[in-house]
Symmetry: C2
Subunit: 405 residues, 2 copies
Amino acid sequence: MATFSDKPVSEQVEELSRGVEAMYTREELAQRLTRAAAEGRQLRVKLGLDPTAPDIHLGHTVVLQKMRQFQDLGHKAVLIIGDYTARVGDPSGANKTRPILSPEQIAANAQTYIDQAGKILDLSPEKLEVRSNSEWLEKLTFMEVLQMAARKTVAQMIQRDSFKQRLAQNQDVFLHEFLYPIMQGYDSVMIHADVELGGSDQTFNNLVGRDLQKAYNQPPQIVVIMPILVGLDGEQKMSKSKGNYIGVTESPKEMFGKVMSIPDGLMTNYFTLLTDLPPAEIAALCDAATTHPRQAKEILGKRIVAQFHSQADADEAAAEFARVFSQHAVPADMPDVKATAETMNIVDLVLKAGFADSKNAARRLVEQNAVSLDEKKITDPKTCIPLHAGQVLRVGKLKFGRIVL
Amino acid sequence: MATFSDKPVSEQVEELSRGVEAMYTREELAQRLTRAAAEGRQLRVKLGLDPTAPDIHLGHTVVLQKMRQFQDLGHKAVLIIGDYTARVGDPSGANKTRPILSPEQIAANAQTYIDQAGKILDLSPEKLEVRSNSEWLEKLTFMEVLQMAARKTVAQMIQRDSFKQRLAQNQDVFLHEFLYPIMQGYDSVMIHADVELGGSDQTFNNLVGRDLQKAYNQPPQIVVIMPILVGLDGEQKMSKSKGNYIGVTESPKEMFGKVMSIPDGLMTNYFTLLTDLPPAEIAALCDAATTHPRQAKEILGKRIVAQFHSQADADEAAAEFARVFSQHAVPADMPDVKATAETMNIVDLVLKAGFADSKNAARRLVEQNAVSLDEKKITDPKTCIPLHAGQVLRVGKLKFGRIVL
């Protein structure tokens, strides 16, 4: 049996509203929590996961943090693996966004996701249920599909942000994509969801779930929409393709270093969405009058590393970072750079070390004064240097390599 | 075994192209006819029927005439009753164009349709197959629906005439309506259609059938599109709601009278689409230099009445028409008009006779000199007349009633 929090419902609602972008509706959440407590029943909190992209970064963890709050209050996370959708793929061959996956790939991807999400979620059976939507979508009749589809108009579908944008740009939207929101909504019906979590790009789909539950005479789920996490650049949405992300499987050193690199203005947002520190404490940490931004970021970085690795890893990463960057020392541990000749051009060396993706990029790094050998800057891309084993090549603040002949 | 026409294929194609608005494609039709003849196989010629509107008028018979041509060449008509669609209705309650029908109503409507269509079609079992699409749509899995839907883009659907118009006028188009063309296309797959017939409003749907057959590795059906028949007013599409139609169950007298009323300019069109007279003969009939329009219309009217009733009925209707209108005589047979008083106002009398739908309409008829009693015009709506049994009330050219006290 699940143990429920004995906090007053108003306090629970306050906590669950933290960082939320929108809630449909807060009043219903309060009522649902009250009723569930009276009945000794866990709320069923739904989150869909995309089995085509199992690797998760901090952007994905925002909803997972919210899910963990529900779990900590005694409720059950219900993760839905969208395996049925993944099997559709794109028969027309024109839409490359949805590859067809085999059942084995889907299962492997789902496991990868859950392993990674497990750094945040409580995976104990009384707090977690994992379902695949093929379970019920396979049995759905065409008539049921038609009847659900008849509840939405084409105009409503076109208003959905992602469709609207693609249509405005004359990009193809395939007809079956219009059925995806209905599939997701039907998932809510089939698992009797009390709450559904999602990022703001899921608002439309999650509200379809509310609508379909009403049609099936169920109390409509409460929809909790979390904001999209801004990436390390402080401007764009965190995403793998933009390179402005922190993956949950990255090393403590990488994670910590990346957190230290964020613009100061992002700190409140990251503290709110990625940690469980109380709002008052966050306010104090993000006020430059009381805390130096470097110190605040160190606390943020350690919290994040500790969550995905351990407190010891967090402390070590912080100490290492301080040693290298605050004291301008070189790290204790660094990769080897195997020289291809005894004398090499500096641009070729940077490229060989893997610190740049192309010769042009390596040349630019040299020209921008980012490259040094044994802490001596080299700024002319034409420079050729006699190399010795043990020399330290450094590019920017973060990349170090030890020369091996 | 069906007997095939021994006409050369080129001649058959010529005949089947008569009156056609578009064909996808004529070359494929020639190939398909050649191959079917070589294999001794009947072509399967599909026509969907709407079980929500079973009463048919001459507008509907245009495709039926085309179907009969295929039958006469030895091929099989496959009528598809769209019973699955009729069961969907409109769960949202907003779209009143598609009432939900019970299976009994659908069966009754289909029978009504076939009874009426039987005036044109050959109903012998070797020339006719009647199927209900619930037979296969009931078994369709959601995955198959998604895969078919993935072959069409939203932009393509929106381009469909009827959707485009409704969306432009901000009328609701429900999402399930986007699935109807796919259902109709799948019907073609399931019955292995060689040809599909339709009015020009069915072009989009019928071409979806071609596309889906290719996806299911079938030779794509040839699509034969017939023009929409212009109504008796010579301007708008023939339709029940506009009152400009001839229903196939109307009496010989009504049918003949209505044909005689059409504008001269419609004759070529009606002869071409509603009779099987050879084009050269039609040209001669519709040339005022060789034939008086009244004479041509009489031939057209007799042909049409003979098709839906009998040659004797046609001759009688023509003779009656000639007697009344050419010789200004009253018909031998007319309905009784039961007077409600011995002296009645003329407007009330016209209304009581059922020759006008409202008092205002009756008043207008009087004012327009359309009303007479015993062939004496009455033009003042205020006139009150002492009535005697046996007097003849006449409104316009066509309506007669005998006064009964």
